[in-house]
């Protein structure tokens, strides 16, 4: 599958990664090559095959409903680039 620049731009926006204009062409080429390569799976007939959603065959473990975490606001905020009055701070979201 060959990706054009517009598609690369759309995917980069979805992934919130800024790609400098000078790199878009090369990146589109690399991604196209990789996607074309993985498309060899098209050769395989998977009729009736279930997707492997979990590697183990175990059942989901369940946790008891007790409060045993939280109350660690200092640790939660310790690595944050910007905080104020116990909140994380980010540039304002336009809604």
């Amino acid at each position: 599958m060959a990706l054009d620049k517009a598609t690369v731009a759309r995917i980069a926006a979805l992934a919130r990664i800024k790609v400098p204009e000078t790199e878009v062409d090369t990146l589109a080429g690399e991604l196209s090559k990789i996607l074309t390569w993985v498309e060899q799976l098209n050769e395989i007939d998977v009729a009736g095959v279930e997707p492997m959603t979990a590697v183990t065959l175990a059942r989901s473990p369940l946790r008891e409903d007790h409060v045993a975490d939280g109350g660690i606001v200092d640790k939660i905020l310790a690595n944050a680039p910007e905080t104020a009055n116990g909140f994380f701070v980010v540039p304002k979201v336009v809604e």
């Binding site: 990706l3 598609t7 690369v8 995917i11 980069a12 926006a13 979805l14 992934a15 919130r16 990664i17 800024k18 790609v19 400098p20 990146l27 690399e30 991604l31 090559k33 990789i34 996607l35 390569w37 993985v38 498309e39 060899q40 799976l41 098209n42 050769e43 395989i44 998977v46 095959v49 279930e50 997707p51 492997m52 959603t53 979990a54 590697v55 183990t56 175990a58 989901s60 473990p61 946790r63 660690i72 640790k75 939660i76 310790a78 690595n79 944050a80 680039p81 910007e82 994380f88 980010v90 540039p91 304002k92 979201v93 336009v94």
Partner: protein
């Protein structure tokens, strides 16, 4: 006696026989850690912590209350969150991140008495097979080609771990393996690397790359050491829903047990066109070795082998694209400012992620996106079922599988750079194992024509690391691999 030449097994005995103290052993490794700096192995050295822990080990050993890994100096791949010690995943986006928690696997090691020398280099976010993509640059393989001074890659993504152990700048190291990232660097560096069954070791506190594939494992001098380390690292963790609720067997007891009567499968699809002769020959020697030890070999077919890489390079990037969405400049790590929230996200991630990570996140985003999910991701998950089925069928006729670990020895830093896919092909023998969730180990088995290490891989049934270790130990004995790399830390 050079303390750093001892294995864990030997050091353990020496400590108990009081031939040396934990402090002396730690000192030797701290000096080795300094000496290995030219190879860019350690991202963070923690000698004070190591020496303090050594003191505690000595106190226990004195009283005859030594823990299984007391006094053993370990290097930790900088993908494991270590409390109070910067953890970066070799990425600019996590520069300065100091975890307020310890990963379960490393906590298990410290609880067993092991001490941390420092954090070692890797490919950024564990994505790579050369340890060249990290934010602080490549790690050099302590091995060099005969008569050639060019620095070589140690393999990846756990290249720092492998180089540390090979250069005797750590007695053991932790690695992670998602598509071969423990086994392939072990092969490139002439050491043992073990990836346990998916779920054997907890993933809690390990920076996630691809959740259904990642597994932590030991990288060591020999097979016994790998068993000893795995014993301490493994175990059910209720904080990890994918962690297997199974008891940990006595792995070390498996080392040295006879393989008489075992059937070892030889998959014909692993014989690739254009495979280097020396690797083909090494594989044949491996087959002879297991036969001489009393096992029989069986030809098996793993039909879907050639599709495993493509399957992996859809599933792993897809999961990674979602796992790496949390690196957004809000709560930890790098923030590059922007006039708006969206600009801040895009600048932070654009600047913080390296080229390989960016490629994989974008591939992953694409294969999950509307209109493409069925054709790529869903399809890959179905092929994955077929790959796992191949192994299920094969294991009805054999107890372990023997293959080469890598399709080549270590290559030079700078080679294979113009084509991402050339790099991906390094994992052709290792990737199917992760897709099926099985355990596998690489054992150094011989040297290439250039004098570089070559490994053989043993694949076991799910949760049957014991049989895998039995076969691995036999190969190790027969191979008698005693070559030493060009660079050994602290050697005069």
């Amino acid at each position: 006696m050079t303390l750093t030449a001892l294995t864990i097994g030997q050091a353990r005995d020496g400590l108990r026989r009081k031939e040396f103290t934990a402090r002396e052993l730690a000192d030797a490794y701290v000096r080795a850690m300094e000496a290995v700096r030219p190879l860019n192995v350690y991202l963070m050295e923690t000698p004070d912590r190591a020496l303090a822990a050594a003191r505690q080990s000595d106190a226990r050993l004195q009283k005859g209350e030594g823990l299984p890994l007391d006094g053993i100096p370990v290097a930790v791949k900088d993908l494991f969150c270590t409390e109070g010690v910067e953890t970066t995943a070799a990425s600019k986006i996590l520069a300065g991140f100091v975890p307020p928690y310890e990963s379960t696997v490393t906590a298990n090691l410290w609880r067993s008495g092991a001490l941390m020398l420092g954090k070692v280099n890797l490919d950024e976010f564990a994505m790579g097979s050369a340890t060249i993509s990290g934010a602080r640059g490549p790690t050099e393989n302590p091995w060099r080609r005969r008569g050639d001074n060019r620095p070589l890659v140690p393999g990846g993504s756990s290249g720092g771990s492998a180089a540390a152990v090979a250069a005797r700048a750590a007695l053991a190291a932790t690695g992670t393996d998602t598509g071969g990232s423990i086994r392939q660097p072990a092969s490139f560096c002439g050491i043992v690397g073990l990836k346990p069954t998916y779920g054997r070791c907890s993933r809690w506190g390990i920076v996630a790359f691809a959740s259904s594939l990642d597994q932590a494992g030991p990288m060591t001098r020999d097979v016994r050491d790998a068993a000893i380390m795995l014993q301490a690292m493994a175990g059910h963790d209720p904080k990890d829903a994918t962690s297997a609720p199974l008891p940990v067997p006595n792995f070390e007891a498996a080392v040295g047990r006879s393989v008489k009567g075992l059937r070892v499968g030889i998959p014909k699809e692993y014989r690739l066109d254009g495979m280097p002769t020396e690797i083909e020959m090494l594989w044949r020697r491996g087959i002879e070795w297991v036969k001489e030890a009393g096992a029989t070999t069986v030809d098996i077919s793993l039909k879907m082998t050639k599709y495993a890489l493509a399957t992996y390079y859809i599933i792993a990037p897809a999961e990674a694209s979602s796992n790496l969405a949390r690196y957004d400049g809000v709560r930890f790590g790098l923030r590059v400012p922007g006039e708006s929230l969206e600009a801040m996200y895009e600048n932070t991630r654009g600047h913080g992620f390296g080229a390989e990570v960016r490629r994989r996140v974008l591939i992953g985003t694409y294969v999950l996106s509307a209109g493409y999910y069925d054709a790529y991701y869903l399809k890959a998950q179905k092929v994955r079922t077929l790959i796992a089925r191949d192994f299920d069928e094969a294991f009805k006729r054999c107890d372990a599988i023997l293959t080469p670990t890598a399709p080549s020895p270590a290559f030079a830093i700078g080679e294979k750079m113009d084509d991402p896919i050339a790099m991906y092909l390094n994992d052709v023998f290792t990737v199917p194992v992760n897709l099926a969730g099985l355990p596998a180990i690489s054992v150094p088995a011989g040297l290439s024509g250039d004098g570089l290490p070559l490994g053989l891989q043993v694949i076991g049934k799910a949760f049957d690391e014991e049989t895998m270790l039995r076969v691995a130990a036999v190969l190790e004995d027969a191979a008698g691999f005693d070559a030493v790399p060009a660079f050994v830390a602290g050697s005069a």
